[in-house]
Symmetry: none
Subunit: 142 residues, 4 copies
Amino acid sequence: MLTRNAPKLTYEGALVVMNAAAAKAAEMKLPICIAIVDDGGHLLAFARINDAKPSSVRVSITKAVSAATRRAATGPLPNPENVSVLLSLGMPLASDGNLTCVRGGLPIMWDGVVVGGVGISAGTQEQDEEVARAGIAALQQP
Amino acid sequence: MLTRNAPKLTYEGALVVMNAAAAKAAEMKLPICIAIVDDGGHLLAFARINDAKPSSVRVSITKAVSAATRRAATGPLPNPENVSVLLSLGMPLASDGNLTCVRGGLPIMWDGVVVGGVGISAGTQEQDEEVARAGIAALQQP
Amino acid sequence: MLTRNAPKLTYEGALVVMNAAAAKAAEMKLPICIAIVDDGGHLLAFARINDAKPSSVRVSITKAVSAATRRAATGPLPNPENVSVLLSLGMPLASDGNLTCVRGGLPIMWDGVVVGGVGISAGTQEQDEEVARAGIAALQQP
Amino acid sequence: MLTRNAPKLTYEGALVVMNAAAAKAAEMKLPICIAIVDDGGHLLAFARINDAKPSSVRVSITKAVSAATRRAATGPLPNPENVSVLLSLGMPLASDGNLTCVRGGLPIMWDGVVVGGVGISAGTQEQDEEVARAGIAALQQP
């Protein structure tokens, strides 16, 4: 099989995620960055809500890229030898900074396939992830 | 005078530029990337209209950063010794890729001050600049 | 439309391109690097045939990434004002080195869609492109 | 002695390692990236088996480069003062990301000399190292 068919996230799909995340952030009164990338980690849509920090731009994009290309939520990595810190920080260092152990990045799924990622920065990690989940939820609605 | 007041582009202002640029691009049937940054060159808003190439993401952001932080439209640089090519390519090399000689980036002005930049990619350089101008025009309207 | 379906190049498909390119290179007695990436510019397969230069590794990958993400063959860019050198070198500088004006990179098409790229280095630019074409041709056969 | 002779890994040798690693990965049903580099850390052969994550490309290459150029398996570094974490993360930071403390990279030996490295990503660290060992074993057979 030389090629296979897969769903691709469109700009319209990305906007659904972004608008829902932005609404959640407004409700939580969080000044944040919202980044949406496709399955290859390439930016589709971005918003820096008023007064969000310049430093959050890169962090939110990295979270989205990490979630999309690693096909998993960002966050600390488990490690059987209980030296999680080495793996959690070693992976970002081994990936030229494209993976992150900071929470707030979630993969965007469609038909059981990762079609992109959303990354939020910078409230607390819990707040960021909550905003990301709100974005994802909007896309999943039937 | 220890500080001075300056206008700062808000996310709402960035959206005005972006929406006008997107409308112009739709009218011209161009699949493009639109990047809006603040006066420090930090991303405020971004859109990759369906089927715009992944390679245009970085180029459009570079154009916006270059226009905003150099306070001037992107494009070939004039040079008194008529070796424009050296300056036009030397500046990107001297700025770690943050300045560009490729047209399609324009500074966003407010009250005579540069408050940000808009970068468009990838139609022709002329098309990109036309889309950027349409975005800017929307902000200047009274 | 929140997502759209698109063909994705598989590892098997990438191998078809790589093996045909390698056969062509052997026939031309060229020690080269062959890089195959997917539509997001992520490496799928790579070969450095004996005695190909270490410096060709990065160049061949850049060519493949450029062809895949810019959806076009690599090479000098045309420019209405006849300052092609500025655009041809300005684009690589504006893309953090991900685009190149050096020939030898071709997009891989399937059903009229770019599903990846192949990059060859380092014979002459003409030799590189000939090897890349041989790789592409193998995939297109019915 | 102005020069000395040393064995150099060939593309054919790299393929022996890669094919054996790929066979092991298939047996373990792992979608992974396999990277083989020479003694200078330059890529010789690479394969991303279907559905391996894009993020694994860079990680597998980093593991191979680290193992080859540091002449040792990748993994946590021992430290006399028992602050292993500082050394294990300090080395990647001091090497521009070319060394890693994440397991799954092994040096390729020949006649007692390191001739290259193999890096695997992304199963667990244990799975990655097992696949790498299978690749190495194929080369060592008489």
